[in-house]
Symmetry: C2
Subunit: 297 residues, 2 copies
Amino acid sequence: MATQPDVPSLDVPLSALLRVPPGPVDLGSYDCAATTGYPGEKDGVDERMTELGETLSQLQERLFANGRTYPDTAPAALLVLQGMDTSGKGGVLRHTVGMVDVQGLSVAAFKKPTPEELEHDFLWRIAKEVPEPGFLGTFDRSHYEDVLVSRVEQLAPPEEIEQRYDEINAFEAGLVARGIVVIKCFLHMSYAEQGQRLMERLERPDKHWKYNPGDVEARQKWPAYQDAYTVALERCNTVAAPWFVIPSDKKWYRNWAVAQLLAEHLQGLNLDWPAGDFDVQAEKERLSRTFETPARK
Amino acid sequence: MATQPDVPSLDVPLSALLRVPPGPVDLGSYDCAATTGYPGEKDGVDERMTELGETLSQLQERLFANGRTYPDTAPAALLVLQGMDTSGKGGVLRHTVGMVDVQGLSVAAFKKPTPEELEHDFLWRIAKEVPEPGFLGTFDRSHYEDVLVSRVEQLAPPEEIEQRYDEINAFEAGLVARGIVVIKCFLHMSYAEQGQRLMERLERPDKHWKYNPGDVEARQKWPAYQDAYTVALERCNTVAAPWFVIPSDKKWYRNWAVAQLLAEHLQGLNLDWPAGDFDVQAEKERLSRTFETPARK
């Protein structure tokens, strides 16, 4: 029996509250400033995050330990982060993912495909970054860009993009079959909030490096992007790999919600510390004998 | 002029205190429990680490920002961690490296080479993990294993191992020439301390996964390993990429010392926030116009 670290329990698991129900999706019906499932007031969020970080770190260490011991068969977890510019993919990585041990993390960011990547199927570069057994992998943007920006900007023929939804579902089902828990988060931010955040980047010279004039062009196509997200959330919302919508206008809530989701999913693996494949007592005696040997030539 | 985050200043930079002087190395003359350069008492170490973590995180963000803006020419940093089992390579990753944003990290751990890796030159697998411009890369073990375990266990002919020191120096000089700051740390722990730490792993079921009976075999060859480290520290202690010896019997000191070394080296890059290649005022006006556009189709 695995004794699991306690994940702060909610009346209803956050996974159940934020999971996108099957069927049509209406992104406009979501309140991006909601704090769904968050118990109490924002005031307590620092303490709550510290506590959740401890739990997350313990759960992830168990995952890592299992990966070390069973390198071919241990499970893994994959956090997929999607959202418009400034929705907080980087913030979640820094503040939430950053709470676990870097040794067990694999962090991938998918930008505009390189010429080499474009020569291959769109999943080629993605497959290379799938986390190894025992790892928590994170995707900052992902294969979904190939049905988001590609759809809005018409970077591929419509019939090709049509096929990609099924290819994505098959790909993700394959990951799940290999023991990889897939947690797909859409960081849902309002149009007004994005405007404020982009303006802040322009107002602070230490944030200029994060600003790209192309961000405004994408903003001007906001409705088309929301439509593209809607289709992706409807067509790739499988039982094996469902979508979660994270209200992301409040950064503190967004960071907490992803942490809580991660903790719930890692706890769901129900992992124990791996037993050693050695005789503990015999090893203690063998080690004890070395204490008497002076460390000299 | 770059205004740099303040690195807590010491009377003498820690880099100068811990750097291995040119010439013969006598590892036996080092006190593994020393707290060289640490100001004040251990009691203050938590606050000091928090403060240093802030600084480190700010310095690393500047490095990352430069990498994003100048992806071909920005500098990078590489932290090489070497030391006997339990000396704390993992602890430094968790507690020191873990203080910076995971987005700008690349973490590599080198274990027993795979059959594919053995088919190539020993530097082949290393070169693949060299950090990209803007990244802080970490090596948990490294190319030095090929002159350490390979020497002690005679995994290659002596004349081949002889050649590797020069090959390593040429390789590292190449990294430095590309703008990569190389920080090589030998976590120097005493024989007695290793015995205690291995015993603790045996006594705690949640640590059994970290224990390997082979660790005791390596311990029984302690003098041979110390000799191999001595040769590596003598022959690969170049001006471009010097060695640092970190007294590592005290975990709190070890973690602080590596953090301080990292901060001093990143500060030495003297990086400013990259300027945007756009007209800030024009972008503000362009963005402002989008505020009036309702987000509708």
